[in-house]
Amino acid sequence: MDYCPSCKVHVVSRGEKCPLCQGELERGEVAAAKKPFPSYIKFINLRKRWARGISIAAPVIIGLCVLINLLTWNGFLWSLIAGVAILYAWLVGLYTVRRTDHLGQKLLLHAIGISTLLIVINFVTASPSMTSSLFLKNFSEIARWSLDYAMPATLMAFILAINIATLSQRHRFRDYIIAQFSLSFIGFIPFVLIMIDVFSGIDILGSLFMSIAASSFSLLTLIVFIVFAPKLVLKEFGRRFHI
């Protein structure tokens, strides 16, 4: 066993120097063969570096788009579409690709992201040269395909997807339930728009069909889960909301 004459300690680990004073060791008859710890490997977290790079790049690119759009202004607010699209791509990169689990939360975020992107694309492209006051004044004249069809259809598709996930992986019910209920509640947004459209006289929706379908599907989903799995639902909410 090696020995440090300065510290007067025996050194078990294999090394050139005393681990305490860094001085030279007196070699024992049998050299210390033990390597008490695994070799050092410099740790580089590539995933984190990418995430950090994207998180810095995304706002910079959005800022550049806005700047170019303003400097070359021709009445078309294309930078808003670019901005929302980049934010959505950022979300996909950070949350969907990076994380391998949380399917429920991913579906929830994608439903919100895609719906928002479609609404932005609809209204920016439908009114390329309008000011905000003109936009509101002529709202009923604009084709509102995103509110009439795209958003309700998107929400229905994602509610259906999470229903399939829950029913096919029943053991993961509690993993999905919060996202399931959140999506179902978001599914009532078309219903809120119908109510505004019908009772306030503001002409928001052109066609009510898809909105009614999405709201009904959300309601049906909630009823099915509350009726057929009340204990599970209560228990899951009990633990999530415990104080």
Binding site: P19, L20, P36, F37, F43
Partner: protein
């Protein structure tokens, strides 16, 4: 989905009082992970170890969990995924990447003849972790074909977990008497150059004869923990005394295993901390320091003061406004509180887990144990002490590059006539 423990369904657990703060405090620099290791007398077979680990699930249900976000608090939920044993990482007590760890907040490693367990502090404390590691090693040796008898010293997989093992003992022993938080005076902090962020920590293990150290402590009418605390305080003054200003104190944070004071069988957190405080840099002989350290121990270890401290911690948890504050608002507040009341109040931390007792049939296969504390970036040194078979292992885990304090401390021990063997990961050379 439901797990019955002595007839009671248990598939999720509230975090105990001490555990609540750790999920909010985790960062790359502050992993809140501590480590126990058992060195066997033969090389570890990872396949057998994996089987042994899977057998632990039913005996230690509160370990096989994942930490989840509730609306108001974090909680632990049964994790049905499979934990995997891994070859030991060179970075001790690194933050657990729970995505790649199947959401488990503990990891079992193997390296040559060593089985080590790294645990996130929200799951359990030192006593719970060492109980788990002993049971794991026992099962491993059983699966290797050795005939063992537990003698009531190790929990075995054929036993049922009890409700008492899963209880939050803080809740059980707290009283409703309010008390003001005990103010720890700000100490001298060691601000030497740190290792690069996320690149691990330096470790120096020193092994010595525990009986010889016990005899030295007895000469001063002190316990081993009191004596080691005094020696560490002395070493801090010897190394950093010139840098200290007049009123700088040396605070050593000492965890207390409350199971020694209360009849608790809990395998979750049941630990509190107190500080030894010494403020006299002109008199740094052991005979001057030890009385001050013993006074701190006497004051910190009375049952009344401990109940008062439990009450202080429980007050925050019982406060209705606090309880009804959503977690996303509570989390930053807990992070700040953890930093204020955490590492910055300690010059260093030392924990003596005590003597590990194993059944004779198992002890024949075991060389010794190691214990590495979880220390954060604000506290430069964490010193874990563990004794088995009269071998005391002092594991000095450090955030700082230089080795002056361990050198001085161990040289002081040598000057008292103790024979010491050291080993190191030589982090100061490589990281």
């Amino acid at each position: 989905m439901k797990k019955k423990i002595n007839g009671i369904n248990q598939d999720w657990y509230r975090l105990d009082n001490a555990a609540k703060i750790y999920p909010a405090m985790v960062s790359r620099r502050n992993s809140c992970v501590f480590r126990f290791a058992i060195n066997l007398k033969e090389e570890v077979d990872p396949y057998v170890l994996q089987r042994a680990l899977l057998d632990m699930r039913s005996r230690f249900p509160a370990m096989f969990v994942r930490v989840r976000h509730g609306v108001f608090w974090y909680y632990l939920e049964e994790n049905k995924k499979m934990p995997r044993v891994r070859p030991e990482d060179s970075r001790i007590n690194k933050a657990i990447d729970y995505y790649s760890n199947n959401y488990f907040r503990f990891t079992v490693f193997y390296y040559e003849n060593r089985i080590s367990l790294e645990v996130f502090h929200s799951l359990t404390d030192g006593t719970g972790a060492v109980t788990f590691l002993k049971a794991l090693a026992y099962r491993y040796l059983e699966l290797k074909g050795y005939q063992l008898k537990s003698e009531g010293l190790v929990l075995t997989v054929d036993q049922e977990p009890s409700i008492e093992e899963l209880e939050d003992s803080f809740f059980k022993y707290a009283t409703m008497n309010p008390h003001k938080r005990y103010v720890v005076p700000k100490p001298f902090n060691i601000n030497d150059e740190r290792f690069p962020s996320g690149q691990g920590r330096g470790v120096i293990n020193a092994r010595l004869d525990s009986q010889a150290l016990y005899a030295l402590a007895k000469e001063h009418d002190a316990t081993i923990t009191e004596y080691l605390s005094a020696l560490l305080t002395q070493a801090v003054y010897q190394v950093y005394g010139e840098r200290m200003i007049k009123n700088d104190r040396v605070n050593i944070c000492i965890p207390i295993n409350l199971r020694r004071l209360f009849p608790s069988e809990s395998l979750r957190n049941f630990t509190l901390f107190f500080h030894t405080t010494v403020k006299d840099k002109k008199h740094i002989e052991i005979k001057d320091i030890l009385p001050q350290v013993k006074k701190s121990f006497a004051e910190g270890l009375t049952k009344d003061s401990i109940i008062e401290n439990i009450n202080v911690n429980m007050q925050a948890e019982r406060n209705m406004a606090m309880r009804l504050t959503p977690l996303f608002l509570k989390k930053p507040a807990m992070t700040i509180a953890g930093t204020m009341y955490g590492g910055r109040l300690n010059t260093l931390t030392m924990s003596n887990i005590g003597i590990i007792q194993l059944p004779q049939s198992m002890a024949e296969h075991v060389q010794d144990f190691e214990f590495n504390l979880s220390n954060d970036i604000n506290c430069a040194y964490g010193i874990g002490v563990i004794t088995f078979n009269n071998i005391m292992t002092i594991s000095i885990l450090r955030e700082v590059r230089d080795t002056l304090l361990p050198m001085q401390f161990l040289r002081n021990l040598v000057s008292l006539g103790l024979k010491i063997e050291v080993e190191s990961n030589y982090w100061e050379e490589v990281a």
